[in-house]
């Protein structure tokens, strides 16, 4: 009895390996499909632009993000852009300034810091937040979902009930409440958004696990004596991954919006770090007097969310052939 079981398990393991190489071929094909989507191309282009900005921030930005252009310790002052070239041109003289003044493309904020440099450096902080939040949320969500789907019974009940309750709050409201609970700060804001994002991924994983479990080949490999963890690793997880990738790639934009909203409300990152949401939140009343101060980080933030959304759309269209035209 024992011997054939072992040999059959070996066969199962081998077939898992061959399906592994098939999987990497499938991955290549999927990547090609994603890159064939117009929206993915545009999104990727925008994202590359932002990534390059973040990587080469110290080359692109003329000043350090926290430099007081009036000199250290001097009182700060919001200022219009100061562009040497425009000094001679009568039409745009409002933004021109003599060569002995520090040149600022977008003016300075209330602490006389260069807005352009702050927006450029802001990419370093803001860009990784979305992928980090979604990455952690998928990891935790997948674990919860797998436990619920695999164990069933009371652990399933309790976990899914909790997820339901989390989902019955508007996400941002709950995130605000959580940040208040654990204190302000970038990490706490990220943690709060992670917590409100978990239920989606947990539910997806659970339903994928449940539907995979019903599949014949899982029943078969169980009958062949494959261990639970083996089934989980080799059969269930590969099958749950597509919906998670689709949801996750679309979820990045949502996560970015939520983190930015927390920052805007002053619950996220603290001064003096340059982060787009916080920059907008700190100075939003200046929209009437110094609109660039607000519009510059607003433009950067919107571009980033747009890039993630376009990319997410492309990935969804590539992986969900139902919607193909």
């Amino acid at each position: 009895m024992k011997a054939p079981t072992v040999s059959k398990a070996k066969v199962a393991a081998q077939s898992a390996q061959t399906s592994g190489s098939a999987r990497s071929a499938k991955l290549r094909e999927t990547t090609r499909n994603v890159l064939a989507q117009r929206s993915a191309q545009v999104g990727l282009l925008l994202l590359m632009f932002l990534v390059l900005t973040a990587v080469f921030a110290d080359v692109i930005a003329p000043y350090s993000p926290n430099d007081n252009l009036n000199g250290p310790g001097e009182p700060g002052r919001r200022a219009e852009p100061c562009i040497h070239l425009f000094y001679e041109l009568p039409v745009v003289s409002a933004w021109g300034c003599p060569a002995d003044q520090a040149e600022t493309w977008l003016g300075t904020d209330g602490n006389s810091r260069d807005i352009f440099s702050r927006v450029v450096y802001g990419a370093r902080i803001s860009l990784p937040l979305g992928p980090i939040v979604v990455g952690i949320a998928i990891l935790i969500g997948a674990i919860f979902g797998a436990i619920a789907g695999f164990a069933g019974g009371w652990s399933d009940n309790i976990l899914m009930r909790i997820m339901d309750i989390v989902l019955s709050f508007p996400a941002l409201i709950l995130a605000i409440a959580i940040v208040t609970l654990i204190g302000n700060g970038l990490y706490n804001a990220v943690a709060a958004v992670v917590i409100v994002s978990i239920p989606l991924y947990a539910r997806l994983t659970r339903s994928a696990v449940l539907s995979t479990r019903e599949n014949d080949y899982v029943t078969a490999s169980r009958a062949l004596g494959e261990s639970s963890s083996g089934i989980l690793r080799r059969r269930v997880i590969p099958n749950s991954i597509t919906p998670l990738i689709v949801a996750g790639s679309l979820g990045i934009a949502t996560a970015v919006l939520e983190v930015a909203a927390l920052s805007f409300l002053g619950l996220g990152i603290s001064e003096p770090t340059a982060e787009w949401g916080a920059m907008i939140g700190r100075d939003f009343n200046s929209i009437f007097t110094r609109p660039l101060l607000v519009l510059a980080p607003a433009f950067a933030l919107t571009t980033m969310v747009l890039a993630f959304n376009l990319l997410g759309d492309g990935i969804r269209d590539a992986l969900d052939p139902r919607l193909n035209r």
């Binding site: 309750i165 019955s168 208040t180 939140g281 607003a298």
Partner: protein
Amino acid sequence: MTQYIIRRLLLSIPTLLGIVFIVFVIARLLPGDPCLSALGERATEAICAAFNERFGLNEPLHVQFFLYLGQLARGDLGDSIRYGRPVTEILIERLPTTLELATYALIFASISGVLLGLISALRRNSRTDVTTMFVAILGVSIPIFVLALILQFVFAVALPEVTGNLFGTRIGLPPSGRLSPGLPYETIPQAFGLEDVGGLPRAILDFLSGILTFNFLITFQWRQLADAVQHLILPVIALGTISLAIVARITRSSLLEVLGLDYIRTARAKGVSDRDVLRKHAFRNAMLPVVTIIGLQLGLLLAGAVLTETVFNLTGVGRTMYDSIVGRDYIVVQAFTLIIALIYLTVNLVVDISYAFLDPRIRLK
């Protein structure tokens, strides 16, 4: 049908209890001493002891929870620590602002979203379609507060500036608030001579008066109505745009999917005209997922209200909630979170039931 509604109602009870429990726990775990943050420098030890006594903060947590449940059962949401007033009063004062904003935003988003989605789907792959869908993806990508600020800048700063220079009159929309400052108006009890009414009826009347457009409409205060509408336009657009974009995208993809189904082919084969195929067969089926999505928007709108109210300086639930969190007024936080979750739960219930009306297949199971 009735059976379905009853079952659906019963199912929401455990969720409701869970929400109450979580809200209670979060509020009690808020860091910082409520007494200190409420009373500030006036807080001496003796005063704080009395304060804790009054708000039941000395009892063990589980006792506090049951006290809280009892309170809720009596319709008492507690007294605000900061304002020293019953939360219900604050709620009656501020909920209408948010409700008005969110409702108009939802109406705006649903109607224009469905229309845009329909046009897009019917002219699939045309320039109109591509443009609409790009605008829609831009719409879901622009943060509410960014859009709010841009709208403020364009319609309250740039447009008056430009029209002022060009035509000598400044045309634009008010940047913030609900009414122009100093504009006199009557509440519903004042207009109908019901100022002596008290108790619950009065609370309801005050609540309805708070919904300004409704108040002005039934009391014929046309100038005030026009003013209130002008003030609503920008916040409604700012709040509703994300939802509009989502609704438009879902409507488009849903209609395209339905138009490819067998029963649409059957209807065409029967000789039904294209207009009637769309109206009688495709539309209702395509609306099923759209209804669900519209229902889900309310959560987004209530959360977005915090941001919109902040930018447009409106004292609604969202703004109050934020102020109370910062001010550690946990009674208000607790009550408002509960109310928001309750509204959300109710709307989801309504969506599920209307779904059953639309789709006969749901009613059976």
